[in-house]
Structure formats: structure tokens, C-alpha cells
């Protein structure tokens, strides 16, 4: 077997090949499924942590600084370093990948949700209080629905960057489509495999983004009516 470093003009190593996709559909689908499941789980967990944090920061202004600072510091730690910090404790596997991407997604969601909450007009808030809404009633019936556009913006950004970040999970063997890309690189620089993984990553991000944008339109019909008027 000959081993060459340059495959530039090699017809045997095209940038894309349906043949490859057909022959390896099982591997590709497994990687895609793992990537999708990691992304969905990570974003769900991140929302369940980040939205309550944003509400806490909204109710108790004193907490806003520390919450934003801690999530901000987490966000600035290089991704590979975060893997390095967690892997010795959490081991090699999906838990480590999930934890890393959740920690990264927190800042974006917290910041956007808090921005959405603080943009609720004071008159609306006072009117709700005057109508006898308590703190929790106001939160669920007034504040959170009105903050939905901000929360969704954060959610979309977090989802798109999570799709890209999951690929770094290669370092612990759970990178989803990253696994495909990396294996393609190691496997004599097989361009078709690298390209397939990359395209699927970008497509997955696009599909998630469009789905969330669509969900946002359905959930906030009042915004559409206003812009139509």
C-alpha cells in the first residue's frame, strides 16, 4: 500500500462522493443521531438551568452581577481546557461532553433571557400588580411570555454554537459528527468523509435554527400581528 501526503489531484479522493454516503450510511446516521441527541439534551439541560438563573437575577438585582460573572468566566475558558478539567473526574464519555457544552451554553441563554426580562415595560408590570398578580403569577403569565423573544434568541445562538462545539468531544471519543470528521482525517485524509461530516454539522445547525425560529413565531403571535399592522 502506498502512502502519499498529497491528494490534491487524486481522483480517488474527491471532496464529495455519493458512493461513500451510500456505503457508509449506517456510520453516518449513527454519528448524526449521536450529535443530534447530545445537542438536544445539552440545550434542554442548559435551558432548565439558565432560565431560573435569569429569573433569579431579575428578581434579586444583587445576584445579577455574580450570575453573569460566573457564567461569563465559564464561557471564556478554552473548550479544550474545559474538557481537560472535567475529563479526569467525569471520565471518558458522553457525560463529559454534555457538561462542557451545557456550561458553554449557559452564558448566552442567561444573558439573553435576562435582557428579555428587563425589557418588560414597567407599566405592564405595574398593571399586572394592580390586577392582583403575585410574584409567581406575574412571572408565568406576564414576564416570561413577554421575555420569550429574548429567551428564544439566546436559545437559537446557544443551539447553533452547541452543534459546532459537540465536535470537540472527539477528544473523549464522543464527538458525534466530529468523530466522522476526525476519523476521515486520520484515515488517509479521506476528504469525502470530512466533507460529509462538516456539511451535516452545518445543516443540523441550520435545521435547529429554523425550527426554533418557527417555534418562536408560533409562540409569540402578538409580535406578528404588531409587525403586520
Amino acid at each position: 500500500m502506498s502512502f502519499r501526503l498529497s491528494y490534491r489531484a487524486d481522483p480517488g479522493n474527491p471532496w464529495f462522493s455519493w458512493q461513500y454516503v451510500r456505503d457508509n450510511s449506517d456510520t453516518i446516521l449513527t454519528a448524526l443521531r449521536e450529535h443530534t441527541s447530545l445537542t438536544v439534551r445539552a440545550v434542554l439541560i442548559a435551558v432548565l438551568i439558565a432560565v431560573p438563573l435569569a429569573v433569579a437575577a431579575y428578581w434579586f438585582r444583587a445576584l445579577a452581577g455574580p450570575i453573569l460573572a460566573v457564567t461569563g468566566v465559564l464561557y471564556t475558558i478554552p473548550s479544550l481546557a474545559l474538557f481537560a478539567f472535567l475529563a479526569p473526574y467525569l471520565g471518558i464519555g458522553a457525560v463529559t461532553v454534555l457538561t462542557v457544552v451545557v456550561l458553554y451554553a449557559l452564558l448566552v441563554i442567561v444573558r439573553n433571557a435576562l435582557a428579555g426580562l428587563t425589557q418588560v415595560p414597567p407599566e405592564v408590570r405595574e398593571a399586572a400588580e394592580g390586577m392582583g398578580y403575585g410574584r409567581w403569577g406575574r412571572l408565568f403569565r406576564i414576564d416570561l411570555p413577554l421575555a420569550l423573544p429574548g429567551i428564544l434568541t439566546g436559545l437559537r445562538l446557544a443551539t447553533v454554537s452547541t452543534v459546532a462545539l459537540v465536535t470537540v468531544g472527539v477528544v473523549v471519543g464522543r464527538g458525534g459528527l466530529g468523530q466522522l470528521i476526525f476519523a476521515g482525517f486520520q484515515n488517509n485524509f479521506y476528504k469525502a468523509q470530512i466533507m460529509t461530516g462538516t456539511l451535516l454539522c452545518v445543516l443540523l445547525a441550520l435545521v435547529f435554527d429554523l425550527a426554533l425560529a418557527g417555534a418562536g413565531r408560533l409562540l409569540t403571535p402578538w409580535l406578528r400581528r404588531r409587525s403586520a399592522a
Binding site: 481537560a84 459528527l177 485524509f189
Partner: protein
């Protein structure tokens, strides 16, 4: 050997071994590589993004393009670019890594250059025009100096991000501190845990150091009356790009 101790103890032991610092491929070598790659990538990013961003800001067009570039690069995995570029005409080695990292430096540089020029007081612009400045003179002598705080803020964001991302160059054996972490993972977690953790500390520490130094630089190049405003505005520009 050190596997029995916790990862933190193992990391301390690993960092305390002078050979791990001075060996070929040791920490000192890797820091040098890391900084060289990062500096080249940020420089390349500046050469591409600043002229375009300043020009777009000057002409007042292309705000949509800036957001589009930012969103596109958000969706492309770093790993993908790092593995694809060596297979193009760039070839294996440092140029491909530098270009891959520069791509991720461009959005903050571009956005801040654009916003910096857009945020120039329209009255200052009108006054300059009234004095007979041509478009080019206006850009060079009025808009560019006033945009410096934004340029500095973008530079800092981009540089920190590149230093952080450069750790991933180790996936394609591109050198840098990430190499230490990857080697640790290669040993398996029990034996390499200390080295992995030590590598992580070095990468995070370097990123933090760069952040601190550039924050100082940013402060120095921002004229005193603009300092508070500039910082807030810089953050606004970053938010505008991330869509917030």
C-alpha cells in the same frame, strides 16, 4: 506511579518536573508555538477584516453582511476547518492552521470595525465634509481615529478567542499547548489525568493572561473621556453581532 494520587496532585507533580518544561516539545516550546500561531492568525484576521469593516462602516452599507459572516462562522465547527484546510492548496503545516484560526478571528474584528465607524458622531462627519474633506480623508483622519477604541475591543475579543481555539490545532498535530492535553488523553485517563489537567491549566492561564494584557492595551489606546463610553459601546457591538 502518580495514578494513585488525585488528578490535581498528579498535575502539580507533572508541572513541577523541570524536564516537562525544557524538553523538546515541552511546555516552553509549546507556549512559543501557541503564541506564534495565534499572533499570525490574529494578524491575518486584522489584515482582512479591518479594511473591509472600516470601508463598510464608512459607506454605511453591508450591516447585513457583517451579521451573516458572524452567524456562518458560528455554525462551522473549528475541527472541520482545521481538517479541511490542510487538504487544500495550503498544504499540511502551520499556514493551514493559521488560516483556520484567522477565520474565527474575523467576525469580532469585522463587527467592531464596522460599528466603530458607524458610531462616529454624524456632526463630526458633517463638519469634516464641510471643511472639504474627501471621503478617503474623512475615513483616515476622522472616522479611523474615533473608531480606535472599538478596534481595540475587537482585537482583544479576537485574540483571546484565537488563543483559546489554538488549543484545538493539536487535533491535526498543529502544535501549541493543546498538544500536551492530547498527549495526556493518549496515555489514558488514569495515567494521563495529571498531564491533561496541567495542560488545561496552561491553556486557560495563557488565555487569561492574554485577556488581561490586552484589556490594559485597550485602556491605554482609549482616550480618557471615551473610556467608560467606549467599553459599554464595545460590549454593545459584540451583542449586536451575537444577535442579542
Amino acid at each position: 506511579m502518580t495514578a494513585a494520587a488525585g488528578p490535581i496532585e498528579a498535575a502539580v507533580v507533572w508541572l513541577n518536573d523541570p524536564l516537562n518544561w525544557t524538553n523538546p516539545g515541552g511546555i516552553l516550546d509549546r507556549v512559543g508555538e501557541h503564541l506564534a500561531i495565534s499572533a499570525a492568525a490574529v494578524l491575518l484576521g486584522c489584515l482582512v477584516a479591518w479594511p473591509i469593516g472600516l470601508w463598510l462602516g464608512h459607506s454605511g452599507r453591508g450591516g447585513g453582511l457583517v451579521v451573516l459572516v458572524a452567524n456562518l462562522t458560528l455554525a462551522v465547527p473549528t475541527l472541520a476547518l482545521l481538517t479541511i484546510l490542510p487538504l487544500t492548496f495550503l498544504g499540511f503545516g502551520r499556514p493551514a492552521v493559521v488560516v483556520a484560526l484567522a477565520v474565527f478571528a474575523i467576525p469580532p474584528l469585522l463587527a467592531n470595525a464596522y460599528t466603530g465607524v458607524r458610531e462616529v458622531d454624524p456632526e463630526a462627519r458633517d463638519a469634516a465634509r464641510g471643511m472639504g474633506f474627501s471621503g478617503w480623508q474623512l475615513l483616515r483622519r476622522v472616522e479611523l481615529p474615533l473608531a480606535v477604541p472599538y478596534l481595540a475591543a475587537g482585537f482583544r475579543t479576537a485574540a483571546v478567542q484565537v488563543v483559546a481555539t489554538a488549543a484545538l490545532a493539536s487535533f491535526v498535530n498543529g502544535g501549541g499547548l493543546g498538544q500536551i492535553i492530547r498527549a495526556g488523553f493518549g496515555l489514558d485517563i488514569a495515567a494521563g489525568g495529571g498531564q491533561i489537567l496541567a495542560g488545561g491549566l496552561l491553556v486557560a492561564g495563557l488565555a487569561m493572561l492574554v485577556e488581561l494584557v490586552l484589556a490594559l492595551v485597550e485602556r491605554l489606546v482609549t482616550p480618557r473621556p471615551l473610556r467608560n463610553r467606549g467599553r459599554r459601546a464595545g460590549r454593545r457591538a459584540a451583542d449586536a453581532v451575537s444577535g442579542a
